[in-house]
């Protein structure tokens, strides 16, 4: 399947071992291009649409038309057995394949803390840096996909995030909404010369790694292996949505979110197991209804519906979990600026694909959307659900750098109503 001498993870070690600089050409370009065809559509993956800033889910997935908190939008019927906002007509048509969880209760209503909690399933703790769930997936599934030359956790359109104690090589690889990656194309540089340089680098690096100064020196070396792969891999074509036909591009929408989701689908086809697509600007403290109606909801409606239909048409839906959420919801109460503020104690998210049940509204809030009238769910429960869908055992335990065992998804319980 691949030449073990040239396995990307061992490339640098080999280079370093041959410290005498007599490895001018390793022929890795040829090797890499040979594998491009080994694309695995059947691999498990997760695409997370991140609504940065915290979306007003009470106006999207869990409307309260009878309440003073109801706002301007009306519920409409969907193909599932529940209603969503009239501003999301295209999504209404795919709700047979998606479900809405209406009883998330996550307590962190600060952007940074909420982002951390929703991404890692752990509340921030000064002594441990927890990995984003995307990094967990990268750690668990990345090494099993030896054909994969690009990072196994890709974040489109910013966002940041961290691999925490799993190490920098599982950090999200961030590309902009157009898939541009600076310096990823070799300039005035032959593969031979890059090989010569890398072998020289090996001479210097290993000495520093051995000098017992903590983890940074080795992490640096791992990152360079990844960077070298990006410079030489044909799989970089996955970032180029312009290679799709006009009709497909139009279906997703000619905007960053649409392109991002289309890119995500291409990355899944290349074998990337976790892709986060960032859509910011949901921090709607004022003018929430105008912003939703005119700016935020139409592209979301179009792009996510297009993704669901595309995955269905390509026979990929059962392998790909699609998740739409942000760091928290927004206050049921409408504030003096016709906005909604941060609210973590009762909010909703949408999830589908990956063999999970569609068409269901899981959990419920009270008549004003303030309290939860059912079982409530934590981020760990959500990620346990995703882990199960992706075939990552819930018994998986990672060990922090200080030897502390950490259960996957913070020991959460999969959301039963999404599984059967």
């Amino acid at each position: 399947m691949f030449n073990p001498l040239l396995d990307r993870r061992h490339f640098m070690q080999h280079v370093a071992a041959g410290a005498a600089l007599t490895v001018p050409t390793l022929g890795f370009l040829e090797h890499l291009s040979a594998n491009v065809q080994q694309v695995k559509k059947a691999e498990k993956a997760c695409i997370m649409v991140w609504l940065g800033g915290g979306a007003p889910t009470i106006d999207m997935w869990d409307l309260k038309p009878e309440s003073k908190n109801g706002g301007e939008f009306k519920p409409i019927a969907t193909k599932g057995d529940f209603q969503i906002s009239d501003q999301l007509p295209k999504l209404a048509g795919v709700m047979d394949r998606m479900s809405v969880v209406r009883s998330m209760s996550t307590r962190e209503a600060d952007h940074a803390r909420g982002r951390y909690y929703m991404h890692t399933a752990y509340v921030p703790n000064p002594t441990v840096e927890h990995p984003d769930f995307g990094s967990v997936v990268s750690y668990e599934l990345g090494p099993k996909r030896s054909y994969l030359e690009i990072p196994s956790f890709i974040s489109i359109g910013g966002g940041g995030g961290s691999a925490g104690f799993l190490g920098m090589s599982h950090a999200p690889f961030v590309v902009d909404g157009n898939g541009n990656i600076r310096n990823a194309e070799m300039r005035n540089m032959t593969a031979d010369r890059l090989g010569q340089r890398l072998s020289m680098l090996g001479v210097i690096e290993d000495n520093f790694i051995r000098s017992n100064r903590g983890e940074l020196p080795q992490a640096h070396k791992d990152i360079y292996v990844q960077a070298k792969n990006l410079l030489t891999s044909q799989q970089m074509a996955a970032f180029k949505t312009e290679q799709e036909d006009a009709k497909t591009r139009e279906a997703y929408g000619n905007n960053n979110l649409g392109r991002g989701l289309l890119m995500a689908r291409r990355l899944v086809e290349t074998g990337v197991p976790f892709i986060e697509v960032n859509d910011g600007g949901w921090d709607l403290h004022n003018g929430v209804f105008n912003a939703l109606k005119n700016n935020k909801l139409p592209p979301l409606d179009q792009a996510v519906a297009a993704l669901m239909n595309d995955l269905t048409a390509r026979g990929m839906l059962n392998n790909v979990v699609v998740l739409v959420m942000g760091e928290f919801g927004r206050t049921p109460r409408i504030n003096q600026d016709v906005g909604r503020d941060h609210w973590a104690s009762s909010w909703s998210l949408a999830i589908g694909g990956g063999g999970l049940k569609g068409g269901r509204a899981v959990g419920a809030t009270d008549k004003d959307g303030v309290g939860i009238e059912s079982q409530s769910y934590l981020p760990g429960d959500l990620w346990a659900t995703v882990a199960q869908a992706m075939g990552i055992p819930l018994s998986t335990v990672h060990t922090s750098k200080r030897g502390r065992p950490m259960k996957i998804a913070n020991g959460g319980t999969p959301i039963a109503d999404l599984l059967s």
Binding site: I181, N183, A184, Q196, H285
Partner: protein, 750 residues
């Protein structure tokens, strides 16, 4: 933690409400008290509900006038207020149930295992207070409050503190002892282990609490010492802690490592070969002190820390309204000439006018959106190392920050607006969507407008907050300049918090970790490591009139700063359960500015004169901004991709700056060399020059062998004209330079 336990049940809330109603009516039976306790302790949500309920109850009592005479300016009501209210009611025997229950829960809720200083509530109660004290309103004239007295006297004038001579800030503070040059260094390979008596118990008191009583206590002991005495004390405290914890500190780093470290830390770039040679040839005990003094006296130092603070204050992303170059230039002037941190903070907080002209005005212009919520949170985080954004919506579960505290601080920014210079339109609600500044620019103004800030608690009750901080509430009239008042409070009653916050942040800048981690989360819930040292440094910094250069002198000449980054034990021993032990120097990644400045130095493009800086910084800003991504939240966060991950590696492997720099290095070492007639020593010299230029050290034997072999091979393989052969030889030198600047060793401050 399972999802089930997280559920808040409506029927429990109903039961809680009934029990709390009885509590407030003082009709709670013993059984009901037990039931209430069990419920409140069973879930954080119920605890919060309990706190909110009591808060509202206290407020209602107050509003009904049942607690006695109203004062003219009413203090905001929060948990502490409720307790005071309750305490007052203790005269009536029936109130004891309320009091004891409230205190009992207070102890449970706010107790954390590591917090040995105990909850503030209990301390307050333990001190008998008269009813006059309980109800007295702290007005802005501190004389009205007997508790805020000497040594910090507040008046409405700028504090008149004797400042050292500005032209020679490091050498001439009034109370100084011997010159920094005479500071005695340990010259062996290992830190001196000294046996000295422990500290007086007063040092052990908790440093950072928001209460007024504690805020003034610290300076009593903090008599200003001269630099030599401060450094000796730092070393003693370090050695005491190492001994106590049975930690074996790393050996001292070599001269070249120390020099690269201190140049990188204070100037933000690697040292030049000339600087390296100058230091190595210097003689005598005081050479480190002399070098630090030289670094601190330079404009490069001031500009580097101006960079550091500009990034913290306004970020790296372009913002249509923010002129970060103006802010940077203001900070650089301050740090160079008048490096007193409290004054810088006062300038930033109270600035007015056009940010294109007045540097400090940029700070608030960047954060005034969304009712100044970001301005409040960022002010607390940056200047006080406090995380207050969470208490915006609810009381803090683990420390004694209250929602009221947030809004009281917020109230200081209530008069502040951003207006278009032309037309006077208010702009802050549009800030997040503005892609260009209006014609004529904007200005930061104070409206002549009084009144409190209104906010809601979680149970939908509207509250009111008056401008108040560190126990000082200022008047709410139209004629009060609230931000100037806040600056004054921070420089006086808030002085110790301000000092501790700066010390903690700067410590983490030099040593990777702060005394607390995260660095900007000080409080009783997050105990500090090396608490005596932290307190001592904070006291001395405050006593030095917040002289940032002196603080950095102490740090850079301490034994800890000389330790190698090579551990003598295991990595686990250096970071016990993630908590820094400070037994060695931890590696630090370079900042984007440090990367750029170091590359510029290697390619001889680092500016030599002040007049060249503007153009240089413009280029650098453009380079860095390519890697910044906004988080698009109301808190104006951003992400920088130059964080040691793949984008940075790609830039250094393949970017234009990197390619040009390695070329420049190759050209510079080739000067006056004829490769056709190279001796073996000369060829070694080429490798040595490249290594010194890039890593500030001699090449290892292994590097010399490998790279000379590559050069030799090039000479043998090179064909064609002499010019072409020369070009090929130069290419190999570029490859060697490339390898050095791309190495892990280059990428960190070690």
């Amino acid at each position: 933690m399972t999802s089930r336990s997280n559920t808040i049940k409506p029927e429990i809330i109903d039961e809680l409400s009934a029990l709390l109603g009885k509590l407030c009516d003082q009709s709670l039976t013993v059984e009901e008290t037990r039931r209430l306790e069990a419920l409140v302790m069973s879930h954080p949500g119920y605890t919060q509900y309990y706190l909110d309920y009591l808060q509202v109850h206290g407020e209602l009592l107050w509003d009904e006038g049942r607690l006695g005479e109203r004062t003219q300016s009413r203090p905001a009501i929060g948990r502490r207020r409720v307790l005071k209210v309750v305490r007052r009611a203790m005269a009536k025997p029936a109130s004891w149930a309320v009091v004891s229950l409230a205190l009992m829960f207070g102890v449970f809720v706010f107790w954390t295992p590591k917090n040995e200083s105990g909850p503030t509530i209990v301390e307050n109660v333990a001190k008998p207070q008269t009813s006059a004290e309980v109800t007295s309103v702290i007005e802005k004239t501190p004389a009205a409050n007997p508790k805020i007295d000497a040594p910090l006297v507040v008046d409405n004038q700028k504090p008149t503190v004797a400042r050292p001579d500005v032209s020679t800030p490091v050498t001439a503070p009034p109370m100084r002892g011997p010159d920094a040059n005479s500071i005695v260094e340990s010259d062996g390979r290992k830190p001196l282990m000294k046996e000295e008596p422990g500290l007086p118990p007063s040092f052990l008191e908790p440093m950072v609490t928001p209460s007024t009583q504690n805020a003034v206590a610290v300076v009593d002991d903090g008599k200003p010492l001269n630099d030599e005495a401060v450094i000796a004390k730092i070393n003693q405290l370090l050695h005491d802690e190492w001994t106590e914890q049975a930690v074996k500190p790393a050996e001292f780093a070599s001269d070249d490592v120390w020099l690269r470290r201190v140049t990188m830390d204070l100037w933000g770039r690697i040292p030049s070969v000339k600087e390296m040679n100058g230091f190595q040839s210097a003689e005598g005990d005081g050479k480190r002190a002399r070098f630090v003094k030289k670094l601190l006296a330079s404009e490069a130092y001031a500009l580097h820390f101006a960079d550091y603070w500009t990034t913290l204050l306004v970020g790296r992303r372009p913002n249509a309204l923010v002129h970060s170059n103006q802010l940077r230039s203001y900070l650089a002037n301050r740090f160079h000439e008048k490096p007193y941190w409290d004054e810088v903070v006062a300038d930033l907080i109270s600035a007015e006018g056009n940010p294109a002209e007045n540097g400090p005005a940029n700070y608030l212009v960047a954060h005034l959106n969304n009712q100044a919520v970001p301005a409040t949170a960022v002010t607390a985080r940056l200047f006080l190392c406090k995380q207050m954004q969470c208490v915006q919506c609810h009381n803090h579960p683990f420390n004694d920050s209250r929602q009221t505290d947030f809004w009281q601080l917020n109230s200081f920014f209530k008069q502040t607006k951003i207006q278009a210079v032309t037309g006077g339109e208010e702009l802050q609600n549009k800030m997040s969507t503005m892609t260009s500044s209006p014609n004529g620019g904007v200005r930061l103004v104070n409206l002549k407008q009084g009144g409190p800030t209104f906010y809601e608690s979680r149970n939908d009750v509207m509250h009111v907050a008056f401008p108040s901080y560190a126990g000082v509430t200022i008047g709410e009239g139209d004629d009060v300049n609230r931000r100037e008042e806040l600056a004054r409070i921070l420089q006086n009653q808030g002085k110790n918090e301000l000092a501790a916050a700066y010390v903690n942040r700067i410590w983490s800048y030099f040593f990777t970790y702060g005394f607390t981690n995260p660095v900007d989360d000080l409080g009783s819930h997050n105990p500090a490591v090396y608490p005596e040292l932290f307190q001592f440094l904070s006291q001395q910094f405050a006593a030095s009139d917040f002289d940032t250069k002196r603080l950095m002198t102490w740090i850079c000449l301490s034994d800890l700063y000389r330790l190698s980054s090579e551990t003598t034990g295991t990595p686990e021993a250096d970071l016990a359960a993630g908590v820094p032990v400070f037994s060695k120097m931890y590696l630090k990644p370079m900042s984007p500015e440090q990367v750029y400045d170091s590359f510029s130095l290697m390619s001889d493009e680092y500016p030599q004169n002040r007049q060249d800086w503007d153009r240089y910084l413009k280029g650098r800003d453009e380079w860095i901004r390519q890697f910044s991504i906004a988080s698009q939240t109301d808190e104006n966060d951003e992400v920088n991709l130059l964080d040691g991950t793949v984008p940075q590696a790609l830039e250094l492997i393949n970017g234009e700056m990197s390619q040009e720099t390695v070329k420049a290095i190759a050209v510079s070492v080739m000067r006056d060399i004829n490769p056709a007639r190279l001796t073996s020593e000369q060829e070694q010299g080429l490798v040595r020059s490249i290594c010194q230029k890039t890593l500030s050290r001699e090449p290892t034997e292994k590097e010399l062998t490998a790279f000379r072999r590559a050069l030799l091979a090039t000479r043998h393989q090179a064909t064609g004209t002499a010019e072409k052969q020369l070009a090929m030889y130069q290419q190999t030198l570029e490859d060697i330079a490339w390898a050095y600047v791309n190495s892990n060793e280059f990428s960190v401050v070690r």
